[in-house]
């Protein structure tokens, strides 16, 4: 069975600090990868996704993620966080021909102004 691990459950940063949130999955073969974000009081929404092509994916609000197949990882990065990035971040993994994503536990990010 697939599993998705987000090792950082709680991250606290100051504005302008760099961010990297880890996501690892345990599934052999080609996968589709997602990061979703839930801002306080809002719905879960897509941040970015990868399914083929350039393994460095750019998403909304300056976020990017890099797919490293050999490490089974899809880490989320942002060079300089803002207070408005305070949110819960979820990594999700889909295998091809699988329509049911497996979600990680989520990482709570707090950015202090």
């Amino acid at each position: 069975a697939q599993s998705v691990s987000q090792h950082n459950h709680h991250v606290i940063l100051s504005e302008a600090a760099s961010l990297e949130l880890g996501c690892n999955y345990s599934y052999g073969g080609t996968v589709n990868l997602f990061w979703y974000v839930q801002y306080p009081g809002q719905h879960l929404q897509l941040l970015l996704k990868y399914f083929s092509g350039d393994p460095l994916v750019k998403g909304i609000k300056g976020f990017e993620a890099e797919f490293i197949k050999s490490k089974f990882s899809f880490n989320l990065r942002k060079p300089s966080v803002q207070w408005s990035d305070t949110a819960e971040y979820f990594c999700a993994v889909n295998a091809p021909r699988s329509y049911i994503p497996t979600f990680g536990r989520g990482t709570s990010l707090i950015v202090h102004p």
């Binding site: 979703y36 719905h43 897509l46 049911i100 989520g106």
Partner: protein
Amino acid sequence: GAGVSQSPSNKVTEKGKDVELRCDPISGHTALYWYRQRLGQGLEFLIYFQGNSAPDKSGLPSDRFSAERTGESVSTLTIQRTQQEDSAVYLCASSLDGGGTDTQYFGPGTRLTVL
């Protein structure tokens, strides 16, 4: 346009009662998912509907849980004889065609508390 809506937003019930949760997907989206999110946990898949195909019920935790969807519109998730461990946020999501690369659009969730 309208997003995914869910009702009620909050539901408090007594152990043993039945509850019904509703989801209105985005118009034109053929795929619909239900998830459960317990405090501090990730999203746990419950059930998936795609068009007129038979639903994938593989995530339903027990026979107390059931769901229906009318065509490609409203879905209801029913929990019978609720237990305290059913307390969670129940999320609904829809996507255009349910493909593996599809983006899911989530509703605000229903927070269920079983006393």
